[in-house]
Symmetry: D2
Subunit: 392 residues, 4 copies
């Protein structure tokens, strides 16, 4: 069947040609004498993406899920009390992982469409006068619902309670796309992956770890080998890895970091906002709403679009893929079927963001949803036109 498939899910994203070519190289010796000349500056520049000066970066050959596990297993012990909240598939899975690692999880259940309950966190932390809570978890951007949470708010809650708990943030679908400030926000474990803002294929778990979190591994008793910070540190300090790294991904990551730095992080964030606004203009023109309940929750990397009662959002995604070769995302878990999702992160421009809008529009019409043909696209066009910039 002719023509290209268009991937507009919230990760993996479209991999830019520049990164594809950076990865289109022969395998190399990961123990070569000149390998550290490549790796050490890469680790250093990654810190700029995380906006940390005092933290340390770890790169695991894994998905983001592996990076979650690395964050937990290196710093916590069975029985440790942790404060979490869940409001979507991925925040829920992190809770589940903590429980499976024997942590004593206080998980606040929120409606899907809302984010981290900063006020509840504040109360609980204040009430924890014995400082039993070892860690506070927050999902910066819940990919399942298109909800962005207030990480500075969580930090404020910790600070106001003068609470020493570490702050764990899932930044998988935010880092490199949404404003993220590890040091300023006092994030102790910032978990990310290669296939979102870094615009690489899936395959790297990337973690920023504060000095405090590094110190915590002394007391942490969960078993870890593959995801061991200690083993990594011992090898990374010399520019090497404790087991065979995925060198083509590291070369791709180098190019990704170059691209983000060349564009400038602030420009990257502004670009993501612009694309997200265009999508939201389209959704409004369709007369539909987002799963995110309030503007303050709106994510600039993914939008979960509610379909009207009586329709199946997942059918929209499946139809778009089957008839128009555009991959939208289904909705999962508690809201399965109530919405479809559009990823709008990574290396996108105006006409690229129009593609999932076109596909969604056509698919919704095909399935009988009452929207005005072309309305969403027209609304997005108007906004993008009014904010246009010459490329040269």
């Amino acid at each position: 069947m002719p023509g290209r498939n268009f991937l507009h899910i919230p990760g993996p994203t479209i991999v830019p040609q520049r990164i594809r070519n950076a990865m289109a190289i022969e395998q190399e010796d990961m123990r070569a004498a000149d390998f550290p000349e490549f790796t050490l500056p890469l680790f250093n520049d990654l810190k700029k993406i995380f906006k940390t000066e005092t933290g340390r970066i770890f790169i695991f050959p894994s998905s983001g899920t592996g990076a979650w596990e690395a964050a937990i297993s290196n710093t916590l012990s069975p029985g440790d009390k942790v404060l979490m909240s869940h409001f979507g598939q991925f925040s829920m899975l992190w809770v589940d992982m903590c429980r499976r690692h024997g942590l004593d999880v206080n998980a606040i259940e929120m409606d899907w469409g809302e984010g981290v309950p900063v006020d509840r966190y504040a109360e609980i932390l204040k009430a924890d006068t014995n400082r039993e809570i070892k860690a506070v978890f927050a999902t910066h951007n819940e990919t399942a619902t298109g909800v962005k949470s207030d990480i500075p708010g969580v930090r404020k809650a910790l600070d106001e309670a003068d609470h020493p708990a570490m702050l764990y943030v899932d930044a998988v679908s935010s880092l490199g796309s949404l404003d993220f400030r590890m040091d300023e926000w006092g994030v102790d474990l910032a978990v990310s992956g290669s296939q979102k803002g870094f615009m690489l294929p899936t395959g790297l778990g990337i973690i920023g770890v504060s000095e405090k979190a590094l110190a915590a591994r002394e007391s942490a008793t969960l078993p870890r080998t593959y995801f061991s910070f200690d083993d990594m540190i011992a090898a990374n300090d010399n520019g090497y890895f404790p087991y065979t790294p995925n060198t083509i991904y590291l070369r791709g990551l180098r190019e990704s970091v170059n691209m983000l730095m060349e564009e400038g992080l602030d420009n990257v964030f502004a670009r993501h906002t612009r694309m997200a606004v265009a999508v939201r203009k389209a959704v409004a023109a369709w007369g539909l709403s987002l799963v995110a309940r309030d503007e303050k929750w709106y994510s600039d990397t993914v939008s979960a679009v509610r379909v009207p009662e009586g329709f199946d959002g997942n059918e929209v995604a499946r139809h778009s893929y089957k008839y128009y070769n555009v991959a939208l995302s289904i909705s999962l878990g508690k809201i399965a079927g109530q919405a479809f999702r559009i990823g709008h992160l990574g290396d996108l421009n105006e006409v690229m963001v129009m593609t999932p809008l076109n596909a969604a529009e056509m698919s919704m019409k095909d399935l009988g949803i009452d929207i005005e043909p072309g309305s969403g696209v027209a609304a997005a066009q108007e906004y993008l036109r009014s904010t246009r910039q010459a490329r040269f």
Copy 2:
């Protein structure tokens, strides 16, 4: 600047990943013992694309312009009378080339927007009772205006005049996209290139030559070496080439022919028609018209869209490229500025054809052309939806 550029000019087309990968190989020895096992079936299968059984295929490392020259220089002599017509940049350039080779050209000038004047050809051929006309030229698809000509009609004119002149057809932007039947239409020289229906980059001139045309090289006195049929035949017969061929293109061409044959030529043609209709629906919705003056001239590979008086079509193309990263084509020569062109040939699907429509729509609005935002896209959507087919 982020995001991918979208190329929607009438060639080169977007090269499918399958062909890109077929070309992403190491160089090979063009004199290897097993090279003919690759080349001989390729020549053979190319005949199926040209729909010739008795003709012979030549592949030159050149653009389509080189293939034009090969057709002329191998079969004609200075002073030879030829009948041509021109109605666009490319038919005009072929006339020019014939003149520069010393041919005695009778070139009928048509309005740009019309095609080969079959009736005039018929008259002239009938009147040529001394059979002085050696060759009749026809541009099957004029890329500059989006006009398709009636090649069977030209054949009929020749037959009804019982005229022995050879028929030269420029099929550069039609072969592999529009119905083309070399044997059935009695085409003697069918000239094509790699960067249109074959979906390869520019770099190969591909020619189908009838037995009659092959015989004509005996008497043809124009100098030729690079484009010599004789040299090619001597080497090709054994599966080799008289000078270093471009092997990665040949491997890509193999994949291209595979793709065309797997899809089936009739399906390929129908797909092109469907995409073209979608574009024409959009143009109509904008309240604009094509350069092609009548439905019978409409090309299914390229549409030249007239902009209203007082506007510059080339500015639309330039604006689209500069602001929205979509390459549309400018209009050339006699109609320069009156139109912009959209290529819709090659490996396209629904959302891909929407991209130049989106870009054109946004650009026209930006430049003050009074069209309804989203109207073209909506009209194309409706047509494409109503003719949709599941991919699996």
Copy 3:
């Protein structure tokens, strides 16, 4: 610096162009409706590479080290008694990992240059009349020393003791290169990775798991999430994955399996033996010996070449890389400096295997090791010539 680097370490191997191109594709939706049509046959065909009919294959986005961890954490519990042996860097690291997971490890230390002590295993298993040993571990091919162990012998030891312990085999640098028969040898957990016999880059841990081992996860209490068999099974059964898989690697793996099956596993094994013999002929001609102490230990995927007393084998590897752009491997751990290693696995032919021989020869001479220039290459040539086969 011009010219290509040649990678002749025991993995990652040189990735064939066919596999590189299979991976040079756009990202795809790992939740697409037609994704299982791709994944389910892949899982099935992988079973043929492991030679198992009753077992199940798991693919983790990790290195081989991750696959080791998956094998352990899904099937064992802290305190479980396991029988292991170590005789090289990698067998040692597996012991270390088991200890870090709280297993009660009986690890037999062997001289580096020998392999699994089948007789000692037999004695210990016979003596374990209470059946306290839950698992027996064996490293099929110790990459650090170029030593191949006798897995059927380990099975025989288990069978003769009528011992129910499960058999864990590290097949990372053997599967797809050396004869391996999961079902016939009664292997319960066969651990492999993408970057050796599969000829892919590093990035996938691939495990074959017997029904017995699958059942063992019921009682296993080690925490696991990323490496959970349960989560994998739940998703894999439908052709999906519990978290974002690395789709370009899966596509590459598909091509790898195709290549192995097209060539035929027996031919693949014979080819590896032939290349290994050529290397060993060269080593003998140099007057040097292997770290592997006896012919029965010789690995057909990697040779660790002892340098004479007073010389540093690692300096040979470093020199080769620095001056001749050929990556040989250093020796690690207990034999660090006593040898250098040549990987000869994967997609190699005669002249490719000569490259590390040339580089080693030149480097040894440069460093003052007394060998006859050209002697190793000449000996390899003679052997390869005498066993030559036409390619077509």
Copy 4:
């Protein structure tokens, strides 16, 4: 059949990964507004490779044969007297091309193994007191015999005769590999191609043209359209092309020029000499000789190795390809069968140049030629070792 093919013919050469990746891009609009920002500096930097400041560079989508034709057809007229010499397949074909274009060719036949007869040229030019000779042709590096000619000597012959004839040089297999100085040597037409020193695939004819040669096109009456300098100049002056250029090749050429300039042309030449000497050391160790009759004729880009009487050099090349996957070149024309050829130009390092030596050695032994196994390789090793340089 496993393993990579190694191409060691005198062009096309192995294309470096850097250039392959520069070409692994999407098609682009050759009429884009920002295209000249790319092309104009490229034309300019190409002048540095030709070492011309006053000349002009033309890039044709063709092979080197097309570039030959462009040089002739733009500057000469039927009946023009030209002085040529031939001593190999390619110099012979250029003579043939001139004759086919109606030139009045005085072609001096030399033994194959010698080059341009500078003394005879000097005599003839002195004798041509009427200045009837319009052009003097010289093949800088005859690829068929591995013979390099003395271009400064030809210039001296012209100067000493104070002769105004233009100097045409075939630099196809020398430019970018051997010292070439267009301005200093007074070359009027320097013809090259993409697939030799530029390390690209076949597909571009590249020509340096002096001001004098440009002026000559005024009077030149040979027909030309595809290869017209006039058309090129009109478009190139603005950074465009008169017909669709092969943009991926232009992007590759940009990278090639970058690589040559980064390394420094003098270093490039020295490297070619070093590789060539290594090959010649091997040939001497085999007890064989080159087709080039004298050291002064030795080419540093290709060596034609004579096999002993009674053996077929072409069988050596065929055998090497068939059994060892290494493409050597056959010998052509007058010396067909007397030799095989090794290309040693482009992006090569020490072990790469050893590969054809290994393959030749094995093949010659297989075919019964009495050489010492390993002798050639050993001799090359010794020389390369003695001239080694650290890469970092």
